[in-house]
Amino acid sequence: MTTHAVHRGTRTSRTGVLLAIAVIIGLLSVPFWAGRADMRLIVEMAYFLALAQMWNLMAGYAGLVSIGQQAYVGIGGYALFALAIHADVPPLLALPLAGLIAALIAVPTAFVVFRLRGAYFAIGTWVAAEVFRLVLAQVTALGGGTGQSLPATIVRSIADSVDGRDRLIYFTGIALAVCATALVFLLLRSRHGLALTALRDAEGAAESLGVDRFRTQLWVYIVAALGTGMIGALIFLQKLRISPDAAFSVSDWTANVIFIVVIGGIGRIEGPIVGTLVFFALRALLADFGTWYMIVLGGVAVIVMLKAPQGLWGLVADRFGLDFFPVRRLVRSWERGPPARNDA
């Protein structure tokens, strides 16, 4: 008789934990030796990584491809400004509240956009984000179409000195990126993780085996909105200025994020990390070429999607058998070969 056991812990996964701890310790030391510009750059990388983890959770695991996550970046940012300016909530406390508000708004939004499937869902979420942008442009108390800056008194309430503020924002950014990664990791290792991957790989079969597609996807959508909302709040806490066009920018908060995930490797936790590094490396390399940067980025993403749909990390990991975050018990949908039945 044969017995089977599902293993997820590997030697590389223990290496992965050690590596992650080392990187986090290294990052926490940055404020004590690096300059302002470096810190800002790392915060930016941190929030793109966090956004990418949230988008990957939806698209790579729950089968929800959204082109409208800028909705929750914008809502999070605006919630922060509204709470800080009109309700005197300390900005750092407003951060989680902004996430909650985004999650609350995600519930009714989901009931509308979930009526669309697949690619139509993607465009539907984009329409929803446009609606939020157009509505907020009408709210004069939040600056209307031109937007507004965070008043100096509130900025000073974060911390007295510029250095102090930078450090707080830096640590918050790192915390968000680590939490977003950990959240996806833990979620996928939980009971729900299996339901998610089952849905993505074989929706019909999963449903007939009792996985509730609607509820599972709804929860993922709401959790992603919560995370994205908090990240949005942090982004505009760092920028200190918000406007509808900046807050709900599809190219900044969704196109870039999609490229990061696709290039790094969709449906893998390491994917967004690798993608973020590649994204910022390309940006540094092509900084002087303006629009060519986006053309190259788009081109790389298209080529990766066609030639290596498992992403750059997928290429490396498959070649060397690496898996730092072992949560996968799965085959991805686009790797389906011809049907396994050979005869009828």
């Binding site: 070969g337 011809p338 049907p339 050979n342 005869d343 009828a344």
Partner: protein, 233 residues
């Protein structure tokens, strides 16, 4: 002289899974052969390779003494090999007549026209404007066979045409066979119903696990031989 259609050492794969292991089958003009075998024996795979839906090495499939293995399906049908897919697979948003015209659109000249086909299956003339979904199973199968005949094939491949149909309907379908054969068309039927297959075929091939385990004329084969070839007992 070379047979009309012939496979030599034909193999087929689904990814890493090998489904056929060196199949030799030959069929002449006007001949009817039946392929029988259990589920998973490779019968449908064999037809799918010949009609171009699955790849093959060129020289493993020869038609009119030319290598056709691996040609795309749309070119193979233009050469005169038509396939009736399992499950009928009529075009749902086309009317019955439009489905038949899809066969004519392939552009091969020959004996089959709408008029001729409507004489063979008069019910299709009556239902020519109907949507295939409103036809009975037997009528759908007639339309599917008719659509294949409209390509004026010299080889007609039929995959499980009697599946799910009542015996009386099956008899009606097979009653059309002599008219098709009379045009010199070679017919390959894949059948689960062994009795039906033995009745109509000039020769029978029995497949098991991707190999031909038995071949001969229906008269020459004993029940015991067939059972052994079919089930490996």
């Amino acid at each position: 002289m070379a047979p009309l259609l012939e496979t030599r050492g034909l193999t087929a794969f689904y990814g890493d899974f090998q489904a056929l292991f060196g199949i030799d089958v030959a069929i002449d003009r006007g001949e009817t052969i039946a392929i029988i075998g259990a589920n998973g024996a490779g019968k449908s795979t064999f037809l799918r390779v010949i009609c171009g839906l699955l790849g093959a090495e060129p020289d493993r499939v020869r038609h009119r003494d030319e290598a056709i293995g691996g040609l795309p399906a749309n070119r193979i049908v233009a050469r005169g090999i038509a396939m009736v897919l399992e499950g009928r697979r009529l075009f749902a948003s086309l009317s019955v007549e439009e489905n038949l015209r899809m066969g004519a659109d392939v552009g091969r000249k020959g004996p089959w026209s709408l008029e001729r086909l409507y004489r063979l299956f008069p019910i299709l003339a009556e239902r020519r404007r109907a949507s295939p979904a409103t036809l009975s199973g037997g009528q759908q199968q007639m339309a599917a066979i008719g659509r294949a005949l409209m390509t004026n094939p010299d080889v007609l491949l039929c995959d499980e045409v009697s599946l799910g149909l009542a015996p009386v309907v099956i008899r009606e379908l097979y009653a059309a066979l002599p008219a098709i054969r009379a045009e010199g068309t070679a017919i390959v039927v894949v059948e689960q119903d062994i009795n039906q297959a033995l009745q109509v075929a000039d020769r029978v091939y029995c497949f098991m696990e991707g190999r031909v385990t038995l071949t001969g004329t229906p008269k020459a084969l004993s029940r015991e031989q067939i059972r052994a070839a079919y089930f490996g007992m």
